[in-house]
């Protein structure tokens, strides 16, 4: 077996409709950005799933670690005042 170098891995993000957020669709291999974009179009948008694509080298992504979960995310869970349900509105009045 030859020691062939693999093509780099890319992460693909698709926007389903104009104005919507980009979502992670999956990954693929490609040699450069234009190539990754073309492959993403063929692999992840062949059923018309996207109106826009982002491709990012997988190596460029920095992810939070599982050990970060506590300090990163749990403090956000008890800040009820960030959510609209926290606030009382007199009955019969429509606030937006």
């Amino acid at each position: 077996m030859s020691s062939e170098t693999s093509w780099p891995l890319w992460e693909v993000f698709t926007q389903g409709n104009a104005g919507e957020p980009f979502e992670h669709a999956g990954s693929l291999h490609a040699t450069d950005a234009e190539h990754a974009l073309q492959n993403a179009r063929d692999v992840y948008a062949r059923r018309g799933e996207a109106v826009n694509l982002w491709v990012v080298p997988s190596s460029a992504i920095t992810a939070s670690a599982p050990s970060d979960a506590g300090p990163f995310f749990e403090p956000g869970n008890d800040k009820a005042y960030r959510h609209p349900q926290f606030y009382k509105v007199p009955q019969g009045i429509r606030v937006f």
Partner: protein, 320 residues
Amino acid sequence: MTQTTVPQEDPALLAAFEARIAAGESIEPKDWMPERYRKQLTRMMAQHAHSEIVGMLPEGNWITRAPSLRRKMSLIAKVQDEAGHGLYIYCGTETLGVDRHDLFNQLLDGSAKYSSIFNYPTLSWADMGVIGWFVDGAAIVNQTVLAKASYGPYARAMVRICKEENFHKRQGFEICATLAKGTPAQKEMLQDAVNRFWWPSLMMFGPSDKDSPNSAELLKWRVKRKTNDELRQRFVNLTVPQAQAIGVTLPDPDLRYDAATKNWEFGEIDWSEFWDVVKGNGPCNVERLEARNAAHDAGRWVREAALAHAAKNARSVSAA
């Protein structure tokens, strides 16, 4: 991949991991996981991905002979999806730190396993219908439960795949239903394909639970959700009424409905045939691997050229 002996896991971490599984949480790539879990997942996902890739060959065999333009396009699109599904699942294994290239090499050198069904030849156009109906039907039964597997990237790939595969089964059944209403020769062609693919399709679910060494652990960790026998029975129950609807017979004289269990009981599977095919002695094992190797070897200069070109461009960009 180097296979080392299974390390002793930290009992506290293992307990926490199993608690998460029990709570129905999904495990993500960077989460702690027992080495056995990582290995079992890699093995299962690789087998699944290889099956998609090798599975392109028996159907690809009829792309150039599809008897109408509509059928030709459906078949190309279906085989194309199989490439996509292989790709999605390989990407899932890459999150476990396994390079697709390494897995691919295991497929090419014959050391990896893939679904035994793809080692059977496709001999007539009706096989395209019956593969869609049986083989994709079986795959859907399998994958619908895998979409709830504990490993996040695998489960997510399965959700996408299940969505896409619905069309595969429908197009297969449509081909069969059309042949069933067709000329005597078409009906004969269909029945022959059914006869050839029925038993190998039942074997697709793998050995009986009592002979499936990995099943218990896979179930405990929710890598699998149902046993091989449960899934096989579900497939038979779904398929028998479909066969009745289009008027083909299934090649099993013991097939009968059990009103008590509400199951279609079926005859004994010839496991010696199954193990023969798994061990590399099926009708097309050699041809399938040769075809994959030929494509890989013929493509090497292309893959190398694309890398070399990208490297040149990167240099000229950084020099500018």
